[in-house]
């Protein structure tokens, strides 16, 4: 019985164990088909070997020289340009620590200044007469204006504290945009 072509190919590459190698050799001596297959592998190898690698003596020296040059120029860059190799665990621990420190800094800074730091704007609106009202949003300013039957002039006093923040759309900063009843 003939051997599988992959076995013949492995035999040709001298990759079979001694016992198998002997069996194949015995078979080849009496099987022209399998012998022809091995001969065809030999032919392919001969043809492949006509495609030779050019002499690389020069390349071998030049490449080594370039590598050493590249290595030495990198060393000259000094400490701050050196690459540091860390394990994945170390990088993960550092990243988590950084996030935790960031979060705690943010948390404590907001707690120290208290809720006022992020509170809504509480403008004090003074009409031309004596009305003084406290508004906690732009809507209450608009409601107040809508309740008036004539044009009124108002002044909005913004909080003076350094923690004051503008929140939402800055509509009240553009007086010209306001149209009564809108």
């Amino acid at each position: 019985m003939c051997f599988d072509d992959t076995i013949l190919s492995a035999y040709f590459d001298d990759e079979l164990e001694e016992t198998w190698k002997k069996k194949v050799e015995e078979h080849l001596s009496s099987c022209p088909l399998c012998s022809a297959k091995v001969a065809s592998f030999r032919n392919v190898r001969s043809i492949l070997r006509t495609y030779k690698t050019p002499d690389y003596t020069f390349q071998k020296e030049v490449v080594l020289e370039r590598i050493h040059h590249s290595i030495s120029s990198e060393k000259e860059l000094g400490f701050w340009y050196r690459k540091i190799y860390l394990s994945k665990t170390a990088v993960a621990v550092a990243a988590v620590s950084l996030v935790l420190v960031g979060l705690s800094l943010f948390f404590f800074s907001t707690r120290r200044t208290g809720p006022a730091a992020v509170a809504e704007v509480v403008p004090v609106i003074t009409s031309s007469k004596t009305d003084v009202l406290t508004a906690d949003s732009m809507n209450s300013v608009i409601r107040y204006l809508n309740s008036q039957d004539k044009t009124v002039e108002i002044t909005i006093d913004l909080p003076l504290g350094h923690t004051f923040q503008y929140l939402g759309e800055p509509q009240f900063l553009k007086e010209a945009d306001y149209v009564r009843g809108r």
């Binding site: 072509d5 992959t6 190919s9 492995a10 590459d13 990759e15 065809s40 592998f41 032919n43 392919v44 190898r45 001969s46 043809i47 492949l48 070997r49 006509t50 495609y51 690698t53 050019p54 002499d55 690389y56 390349q59 071998k60 030049v62 490449v63 080594l64 370039r66 590598i67 590249s70 290595i71 690459k83 190799y85």
Partner: protein, 175 residues
């Protein structure tokens, strides 16, 4: 990363051992000595900077050949994509000592072999090139490609079979 005089000596030692295999394998994938030179250089620089701890010199060899093989196929694919798949045969600086009609036949045979190799799928071609031009065993090829030895055996046979058919069509004679 390699560092210090001892490591430089170690590096030079592995370079001496591996460069001949590397240049042969890379050259037969990319088909140009200039490109092969650049790829070998890039591979050794990556090795120098890698910081990977190898358990043996063999592992270093496998790593270097694997990286060079991958860089070569990446180059090959990129060149194909860019529509510049014209493969230069041989080294540009090569001298034709044998001259005359023999040199013409030799060039033609090389062109056909190059063309036939290009027609073999990359997975099979890498095994064949590592075997035929790198002179590596099935075991070494298996380690380099991260596949089983049985798989190497099958791929080597399939690659030869494809080449046999291609060469039959081209009617190639060996001088």
């Amino acid at each position: 990363m390699v560092d210090g005089a001892d490591d430089i000596t170690q590096f030079n030692k592995i370079y001496e051992q591996v460069f001949p295999v590397l240049i042969k394998v890379v050259y037969h994938i990319v088909g140009s000595m200039d490109v092969a030179e650049d790829i070998c250089q890039e591979t050794f620089i990556r090795f120098y900077k890698s910081g990977v701890r190898f358990s043996s010199d063999n592992d270093k060899r496998y790593w270097l050949i694997r990286v060079a093989k991958n860089l070569s196929f990446n180059f090959y694919k990129r060149r194909e994509r860019e529509g510049r798949a014209v493969v230069k045969l041989g080294n540009e600086s090569r001298t034709f000592d044998d001259g005359g009609i023999d040199a013409v036949f030799k060039d033609e045979t090389e062109r056909i072999v190059r063309h036939a190799l290009d027609a073999v799928p990359a997975k099979l071609r890498s095994v064949l090139i590592l075997k035929e031009y790198g002179g590596l065993t099935y075991r070494e090829i298996a380690k380099i490609l991260h596949i089983s030895e049985n798989n190497v055996k099958i791929r080597a046979f399939r690659a030869r079979n494809i080449l046999e058919n291609m060469i039959d069509k081209e009617d190639v004679y060996v001088l």
